[in-house]
Each structure stands twice: as structure tokens, then as C-alpha cells.
């Protein structure tokens, strides 16, 4: 709903409310009101259709939100599991790398030991061979030589066994190393695969979150719209029913007033009655009139609105003063007008101040002309609007006809 539409509706509602709730007014032409009423009924029906549609859309948005939340939750759980799995894989890779380093070191050491042992064995074989050739030991003691040969065999066998042991250990370590390398490669592949899955899940989750955010925004928008529509519908229904009552009342009055014409003269006399107030009248604040009194045609929506007051644009937070001497008859909130203050000036004269931020006087309190009765609300644009309505004998009159206001 656009800002202009809201303003028009507000003005319309304000008019209707002020008409229906606060002051019974003298009826304008009954035919115009009936036409407006028909229009409002048509608008009401249209709004109800929109409400139904919006409600359906909201339901759909809620369903989508639920589905999306479910998917996000599921994706979150899967992501959590995935992260846990990745963490386990990382730990495993770390452990495997440590074992790999140890195994590589052991293999290097065993290779060095193997090389040394082989060299020693070869040298021992050379020594043994030379001993056999030259006849090591005392040749006069053949038994001793036999024993030394036997011991040489033991020595060589021990050396060969040492070499074989180191070879076996080296082979075992190399096998272990190879196995570890395979494990590391497999784990790395698994890690890459799982990371890819995790990334996919993450991107899906992000996508789902974005979708959920869109849905939530849509839902909020719909809720707000629905709430606004329902409030408007409620107000409009109330207003329509009151207008209907008012129409009936006017018709009844019109029938009664046909006998005399005193009432028709009242609007022309009303400004003079305000001017005759003790102390005269003054402007409630300095500002520019942005909405005029009386029937106004809105070209955008092609509707005719009847304003019972004027709207004065003034700086935000500006003080609002009483236009004349009197007593506070009402200070409270009115739907569509915000905080409303009504000052009774006596003789059937009232001044109405709407869209106030605060009240500085209480109901029943006497005020003089120029007494600050409240203030306008703050606004980011730095401008606020005061609704001012003057009523004489139950009839709204143009405030500009009684008070000097900037046009």
C-alpha cells in the first residue's frame, strides 16, 4: 500500500470518525453520502478479497517457511555431521602423518644400519677368506685351527643373521611405510571428497537460508499487510456501519429540518462566533496547510474526500498551542488520528488537535489562547503534521475562515 493511499484513507477515516464518534454533524447532501457509502462498501469488499488472498499467500509462505526451516535444520545437522567427520579425518591424517614420519625415520636408520652391517659382513668374509688362505692360527695346533674356523663360521652366521634381521626389519618397516602412505592417500581422497560434500552442503545451506530469509521477509510483509488490512477492514466496517447510522440520522433530521431553515444558516455564522470568543483566536503553530477543508478530489485514486479540518505541516516536535480560551474536553487516543486533544470554548464551539506526540494539559483543565497543550512527534524527515478541526454547533467549519493560517 502506498503512502498516498494511506494518507487518503487516514483522512477519510478521520473525517468519518470525527463525524461519527465525536460530533453529530449536519448532513451534507444525502445522495453524496450514499454514493460515498456505496464506494466504501465496494472498497471494503475489494479489501476483503485482498485479505483472503493475502491470508492464503501468508499460509503458503508459512508452509514454505516450515519446509525451508526443516531443510535448513536438516542441512545444519548434516553439516555438523560432515564437520565432525572432517575433523575426525583431519585428526586421522595428522596421526597418520606422524606415524609416517616415524616410519620414514626408522627406515632411514635401518637402511644405514643395513649398509653398515653388510659392509662389516663383507669385511669379515674377506678376513675369513684371508685367514683360510694364509692359515690363521697356529699351524702346529690343528685342533685350535679347527675351533677357530668353527668360531669364524659362528661369527659369520651371527653377522649374516644380523644383516638378515635388519633386512627383515627394514622390509617390515618399508611395508608399514607403504601401507601408511596408502592409508594417507586414501584418507586424503576421502577428506577431499567429504570436503567437497561439505562445501556443497554449505552452499545448499546458504542458498536455503537466503530462500528462508526471502520467505520470512515475504511472510512478515504479508503478516503486516494482513494485519493492516484487517485493521483497516475492521475500521472501515465500523465506519461504514456508523456512516449508515449517520445517514439514517441525517435523513431523519432532514425530514425534521424541512420545516425551519435556521440550521442552514449556522455554517455562515460559525466563523463569527469563533471570532467573538474572548481574546480572539490565534494559530496553533506556524506551518503550511497541506490538506484543505471540504470536499477534495484525489486524482491518483479517483476518489472524493470530504475533509472536516485542515492539516498543517510544521517542524517535528513543534509546540501546539490552544487557538483560544476554553477547557480541555478530551485528551486521548483516537484510531487513525493518534493522540487527540479537544478544547471546548463554550457556546457549542470546539477546537480539535490531532496527531499529537504528547499532552501538556489534562482533561478538565482550563486553557487560554496560546497555552501550549502538546507537541508534534519527531520524524526522520524533520516535518510533522497537525490535524486541526474547528466545530461550531456540531458542524465542522473551515479553520482558515476563523484563524489566520498560512496557505
Amino acid at each position: 500500500m502506498t503512502r498516498g493511499t494511506r494518507r487518503i484513507l487516514s483522512a477519510l477515516l478521520a473525517a468519518v470518525v470525527s463525524l461519527g464518534i465525536l460530533f453529530p454533524t449536519a448532513a451534507p447532501a444525502a445522495r453524496d453520502v450514499a454514493g460515498e457509502l456505496r464506494k466504501e462498501r465496494g472498497r471494503l469488499l475489494e479489501m476483503k478479497e485482498r485479505e483472503e488472498k493475502t491470508a492464503l499467500e501468508l499460509t503458503e509462505a508459512l508452509r514454505k517457511e516450515k519446509l525451508s526451516k526443516g531443510r535448513v535444520g536438516e542441512l545444519q545437522a548434516r553439516l555438523k555431521r560432515q564437520r565432525s567427520l572432517l575433523s575426525r579425518i583431519d585428526r586421522k591424517v595428522s596421526v597418520l602423518n606422524e606415524r609416517l614420519e616415524r616410519a620414514e625415520k626408522a627406515v632411514r636408520e635401518l637402511e644405514a644400519a643395513h649398509g653398515q652391517a653388510r659392509t662389516d659382513l663383507q669385511r669379515a668374509e674377506v678376513v675369513a677368506f684371508a685367514g683360510q688362505r694364509t692359515g690363521a692360527g697356529d699351524p702346529w695346533y690343528p685342533s685350535a685351527r679347527e675351533r677357530e674356523r668353527h668360531f669364524m663360521r659362528l661369527y659369520l652366521a651371527a653377522d649374516a643373521e644380523g644383516v638378515a634381521r635388519i633386512t627383515r626389519a627394514r622390509e617390515r618397516k618399508a611395508e608399514e611405510l607403504s601401507g601408511l602412505e596408502r592409508q594417507v592417500a586414501v584418507t586424503e581422497r576421502k577428506r577431499t571428497r567429504e570436503k567437497k560434500v561439505g562445501d556443497t552442503l554449505l552452499s545448499r545451506q546458504e542458498e536455503e537460508r537466503r530462500r528462508l530469509a526471502d520467505i520470512e521477509r515475504e511472510k512478515k510483509r504479508k503478516e503486516k499487510e494482513l494485519k493492516s488490512l484487517r485493521a483497516k477492514i475492521a475500521r472501515m466496517e465500523s465506519v461504514v456501519s456508523r456512516v449508515e447510522r449517520q445517514v439514517k440520522e441525517r435523513e431523519r433530521r432532514a425530514r425534521k429540518g424541512a420545516a425551519g431553515g435556521s440550521a442552514a444558516r449556522e455554517p455562515a455564522e460559525a466563523p463569527r462566533r469563533f471570532a467573538s470568543l474572548s481574546g480572539g483566536l490565534s494559530a496553533p503553530l506556524t506551518g503550511k496547510i497541506v490538506t484543505r477543508f471540504g470536499r477534495q478530489h484525489d486524482t491518483t485514486f479517483d476518489v472524493t474526500i470530504e475533509n472536516r479540518g485542515v492539516e498543517i505541516e510544521a517542524p517535528s516536535g513543534a509546540s501546539v498551542k490552544s487557538v483560544g480560551q476554553g477547557e480541555v474536553a478530551f485528551a486521548g487516543a483516537v484510531s487513525g488520528f493518534g493522540n487527540v486533544l479537544i478544547v471546548q470554548h463554550g457556546g457549542g464551539l470546539f477546537s480539535v488537535y490531532g496527531r499529537l506526540e504528547t499532552f501538556l494539559v489534562k482533561q478538565g483543565e482550563a486553557v487560554k489562547k496560546g497555552t501550549v497543550v502538546g507537541s508534534l512527534p519527531g520524524s526522520p524527515s524533520g516535518k510533522s503534521v497537525l490535524y486541526l478541526e474547528l466545530r461550531a454547533g456540531g458542524t465542522a467549519i473551515d479553520p482558515t475562515s476563523a484563524i489566520p493560517l498560512d496557505r
Partner: protein, 296 residues
């Protein structure tokens, strides 16, 4: 006394200077033979030499404690053919091994000693036979502590055969010298009988029977031969004793000097002396006979 001159030592009275020379020569010869005889008796030919060189090695298992190994060595030493049994622990075995192969010392800096301990047995020289060696080896192999027995079994029969042969050669040489003594003695006796033929003819004309004369000459030769052999052997034994004391390494080949005083040695010397006496008598008789039968 009948008034007739005694025929004992007739040669000594009739031909003293040549006989003195012969006696000195025979004494010296018996000194040498006695030395050789006693050496052969003590050494058993080359048996003692071989028994000193030949050993049986019982290689023990690596896990056998030293105390048990030493106990086993004592038990093995009690076997009849065994002269001595000595236990060498692994450390000693390793040092001996490195002495034989000094180049191996730096090669097992980290490997440690791979050798086990062992018991080294020596066989008595008189029991150094294949049967006795087999007996000891089989006894050792039945012991669970023994990993292996090194008895040089492949070369042992050859070694024993060579030992026997060497002993025979030694005894053969000795016998040849003894036989040479006999032959030389016979020639000397004949030469003397020829030289004294006139004197013996004179005695025969005076009624002295030739047989009695020959017998008495042979008896005197036997007595002198016995005495010379005994004295020469004693002198040779003394020289051997002194040699063994002076050169101890000879003990490994010949034997201990104390063995010279064993009864069996004395008996052998007595027997040798008797043999020398018999050969001397035989040489005298044969020389007499050869002289009587005319020039050869």
C-alpha cells in the same frame, strides 16, 4: 785256585789298549742310545707330540652358566682317556678368536660377542687312539649343555696313522742303531779274535778247550755290555733330564723329567741293558767263530 790262569777277562789281559778304546766307544754309543731310548719311551714316539697338539673342543650352548660349564669340565676330565679339560668362557673364546683374526676386532663394535664358551680336552698320549677319541666324543655329545663337539674326526685317522708311522720310524732308527752296534761289535770281536789267535792256539795246545774259551769270552762281553748299556743309558738319562729341565718346551714333545724315575722306565732300561748284554755276547761268539773259520 788251581794254579791255572783265569780265562775271565782274557781279552782285557791280552789286548788292553784296543779294548779300552772299544769300551769307551761302546759307552758313548750307549749314552746316545740310552738318550734315544728314554726319549722314545717317554714320548711314545710322536704320540706325546700329537696328544699335545690334538684337542677335542666341546662347544657349549650360549645359555650355559660358567659354574655349570666348569663343573662339566671337571666331570669330563675324570674320563679315563682324558688328560686335561679346561673351560674357556665366551670372553676368553672371543679374545682367542680375535688373536687368530685380528682384523675382525673393529667390525663388531656394536654386535657384541657372538661366540659361546667351550671346553678344551687333551687325551693322554697312551690313549690317543680312534676308539678312545670316539668314546670321549660320544660321551660329550650325550651332554645337553654341549652344542657341538669338534674332534677333527675327518683328519684324526690320518693323524693317528702318521703318528704310528713316525713312531715306527723312530723305533726303526733306534733298532737300526742297535743292530749296527751288534754288527760293529761282531767285527770288533772277530778282529780281536784274529789278533789273539796265536795266544788262543797256545792255550789250546796247553789243553784249554776252545769252547770254554769262547764261552768265557762271550760271558765277559755280556757282562761288560750290560754294564756299559746301563751306565750309558744312565748317562743319557741324566743328559735328557738336564735337557728337559733346561728346555721346558721339550716336555711337550718328550715328556716330564719326573717320568724318568718311573719304575717302568727303570725296567725298560734294565731290559735294554740285558738286550745289550745278549747282543754283546752274541757278537763275541760270532766274532770268535768267524775268526776260527778263516778270513772272510
Amino acid at each position: 785256585m788251581s794254579g791255572q790262569p783265569s780265562l775271565w777277562w782274557i781279552d782285557w789281559r791280552l789286548s788292553r789298549p784296543p779294548l779300552v778304546r772299544e769300551t769307551i766307544g761302546r759307552f758313548l754309543f750307549f749314552c746316545l742310545l740310552g738318550f734315544a731310548l728314554l726319549s722314545l719311551l717317554l714320548s711314545g714316539g710322536v704320540r706325546r707330540f700329537l696328544s699335545d697338539r690334538y684337542t677335542i673342543t666341546a662347544v657349549l650352548r650360549a645359555e650355559v652358566p660358567s659354574a655349570e660349564a666348569e663343573g662339566l669340565a671337571r666331570k669330563v676330565a675324570a674320563l679315563p682317556p682324558v688328560r686335561s679339560a679346561a673351560y674357556r668362557d665366551p670372553e676368553a673364546a672371543w679374545k682367542e678368536f680375535l688373536r687368530a683374526y685380528p682384523g675382525l676386532d673393529p667390525l663388531r663394535g656394536a654386535g657384541g660377542n657372538p661366540l659361546p664358551g667351550y671346553i678344551e680336552l687333551r687325551i693322554r698320549p697312551d690313549r690317543l687312539t680312534g676308539a678312545d677319541v670316539d668314546l670321549v666324543v660320544s660321551a660329550l655329545r650325550s651332554v645337553p649343555h654341549v652344542e657341538q663337539v669338534l674332534a677333527g674326526e675327518e683328519g684324526l685317522p690320518r693323524l693317528l696313522r702318521a703318528g704310528r708311522l713316525a713312531s715306527w720310524v723312530c723305533w726303526g732308527i733306534f733298532g737300526a742303531f742297535f743292530a749296527g752296534f751288534f754288527l760293529v761289535g761282531r767285527l770288533q770281536e772277530r778282529a780281536r779274535a784274529v789278533a789273539l789267535a796265536g795266544d788262543f792256539a797256545f792255550l789250546a795246545e796247553r789243553g784249554v778247550p776252545a769252547g770254554r774259551l769262547a764261552f768265557l769270552r762271550a760271558a765277559a762281553a755280556a757282562v761288560s755290555g750290560f754294564l756299559l748299556a746301563a751306565a750309558g743309558t744312565a748317562a743319557g738319562g741324566g743328559a735328557l733330564f738336564l735337557s728337559l729341565r733346561k728346555f721346558p718346551f721339550l716336555e711337550g714333545v718328550i715328556g716330564s723329567p719326573s717320568d724318568l724315575l718311573l719304575p717302568r722306565t727303570a725296567a725298560a732300561v734294565a731290559l735294554f741293558s740285558c738286550g745289550a748284554a745278549l747282543l754283546s755276547a752274541a757278537a763275541s761268539l760270532l766274532g770268535w767263530r768267524a775268526a776260527r773259520s778263516g778270513p772272510e
